[in-house]
């Protein structure tokens, strides 16, 4: 026998409390929740219209409204004006969009912005500044590890994640562990030298 509806439920089957919880994030929220299946369902369905989300980018909480289909990369670049991560292939195959998600390198083009809530997102801007560069950034400059520079932000983030895992990499580690990024200008040699230099000078926390 189907249970009678709780008085506080909306017609979509979502409790009013859930509805308000999820709508506190954005400003006024229209059509935030729709079409939940089943009686008393606990699963919230968002979209397809815009939803309010919160992203933690480089230590700051940013609020924005996006459709669920918006990728983390597009949210960063087009909504939040954090343009370090680059869009090149947009298909998980080049690494230009690499950011850290809870410390792990990911392709921001292949993560939805809605999924990145409650996670720490670090882009190249969050690693260091021109005045106070991250050891990897400094080593890239010193080893001339870029040419056009378009792959560089993604490569820098990938190298930082790599060195975190392999503080003393050998050449095999380097080949395997930096295989997720492509450089069309072929600056690999400089990048390898930069990574080795950081390792030799005490690593990324030096």
């Amino acid at each position: 026998m189907p249970k009678p509806k709780q008085p506080e439920q909306t017609s979509s089957g979502i409790s009013r409390r859930d509805f308000f919880k999820s709508s506190t994030v954005g400003a006024v929220s229209t059509a935030l929740v729709s079409g939940v299946h089943g009686e008393g369902s606990s699963v919230e369905v968002l979209g397809p219209g815009e939803v309010g989300i919160k992203l933690n980018v480089n230590g700051k909480t940013r609020r924005l409204r996006v459709e669920p289909r918006v990728t983390l990369l597009d949210a960063l670049r087009s909504e939040l004006d954090v343009t370090g991560a680059k869009k090149v292939c947009d298909r998980s195959t080049c690494g230009a969009c690499t950011v850290l998600l809870d410390g792990k390198p990911v392709y921001a083009c292949s993560v939805l912005a809605v999924e990145a809530q409650d996670k720490q997102i670090v882009t190249v801007e969050g690693l260091g500044t021109p005045e106070k560069m991250h050891p990897v950034q400094k080593a890239f400059v010193e080893n001339d590890a870029q040419q056009c520079g378009f792959c560089t932000p993604g490569f820098v983030v990938a190298c930082a994640a790599f060195l975190e895992k392999h503080p003393n990499p050998d050449i095999e580690d380097l080949k395997k562990g930096l295989g997720g990024n492509l450089c069309r200008c072929g600056t690999y040699d400089g990048i390898k030298k930069a990574v080795k230099q950081v390792a030799a000078e005490g690593g990324i926390n030096a």
Binding site: S41, S42, G47, R69, S92, T93, V111, L112, V114, G180
Partner: protein, 325 residues
């Protein structure tokens, strides 16, 4: 990408509630987002399963069987001491996906369910790549296409590197859907579609692959050997995975599975039979390689893959036996 609804349930039951015929499952997203951007998949709803703890973790049972949760990432495979000890061939296969960004979020179930990389399929011509009644793949650029099982309409190759290693170890997968749960041999999960109405694996809309179980691999000698055009960000040209059981110094049973050579992970009974009753030597390993490609047929541009497959099998056998390749 089309617009879609989004849900992120925390339990399998919750996921089944929100999955329907117009939904797709999102795991690491490393393939799904590309498919959606190309318009090859255009769901009404995307169900993110990553918050479901029931789908996580690697467990070794009392009987020695190994269960790998659907959401186990390739990185977790690479870092698992249990898998390194019990089924290194699976770890070797995961290591071939040479991108830390894919390893960090790409999942084992996602690897098995990733869609083929055939460029005709990816450009919207369907799995059988037909245009105006003609096969684009048979007449066109088929350098990476099938050399085995290529008599029918489907000429793409199965893209999963993990599948051959898991099938060689007789892995089973668990599937749940609204109408209940089932367990199938991974080898039977894959199929060669005869038309674009069929898929290359048997999973109904709304069904979730929950886990992969390998019966106790104790005592089996295993290895994966891949041949790649480039070492990063690409799929192998061909690969072979083997699991060999020994009786004294003779092979009592051998399972040889080739990857990236056919529309399905290709179990070569011929190669297995060539090894049975033999000692593993350079000669018997080479004979297994020859047997594996005996029925292979080149398309117009992929004849080179026959030799690569032969060599991959030989080297996988030698590697499994701890011999120099």
């Amino acid at each position: 990408m089309n617009s879609f609804e989004y849900a992120s349930p925390r339990t399998i039951a919750g996921a089944l509630e929100v999955l329907d015929n117009d939904s797709v499952i999102l795991a690491g997203g490393t393939d799904l987002l590309s498919l959606m951007k190309e318009g090859l998949v255009a769901p009404k709803r995307v169900v993110n399963i990553k918050e479901i703890d029931e789908l996580k973790g690697i467990n070794v049972g009392e009987d020695g069987s190994v269960t790998i949760g659907a959401l186990v990432t390739l990185e977790e495979v690479l870092e698992s001491p249990d898998l390194a000890e019990l089924c290194p061939s699976v770890v070797e296969a995961a290591a071939g996906v040479r991108s830390p960004q894919i390893q960090s979020v790409g999942t084992v179930a996602g690897d098995l369910c990733q869609r083929p990389r055939c460029w005709y399929y990816r450009n919207g011509f369907g799995l059988t790549a037909m245009k105006d009644g003609k096969s684009l793949a048979r007449d066109g650029d088929n350098r990476y296409h099938a050399i085995l099982g290529n008599d029918g309409a489907a000429l793409f190759v199965n893209p999963s590197s993990l599948a051959p290693a898991l099938i060689a170890l007789d892995a089973k997968i668990s599937i749940v859907g609204k109408s209940g749960s089932r367990e199938v041999a991974l080898a039977d999960f894959f199929q060669t579609p005869s038309s674009d109405q069929e898929k290359e694996y048997k999973l109904e809309a709304g069904e979730i692959l929950t886990a992969i179980t390998i019966p106790s691999p104790a005592g089996k000698k295993v290895a994966t050997y891949e041949i790649r055009e480039k070492q990063a960000l690409d799929w192998p040209l061909t690969a072979a995975a083997v699991a060999i059981e020994m009786n004294g110094d003779q092979v009592s049973a051998a399972k040889v599975v080739l990857g990236h050579v056919a529309p399905v992970p290709w179990v070569s009974a011929e190669a297995g039979a060539a090894l049975a009753g033999k000692q593993v030597t350079a000669e018997s390993a080479a004979a297994a390689g020859d047997a594996a490609v005996k029925s292979a047929k080149a398309l117009s541009k992929n004849g080179f893959k026959i030799q690569l497959a032969r060599v991959a099998v030989k080297r996988a056998v030698l590697r499994a036996a701890g011999m120099e390749v």
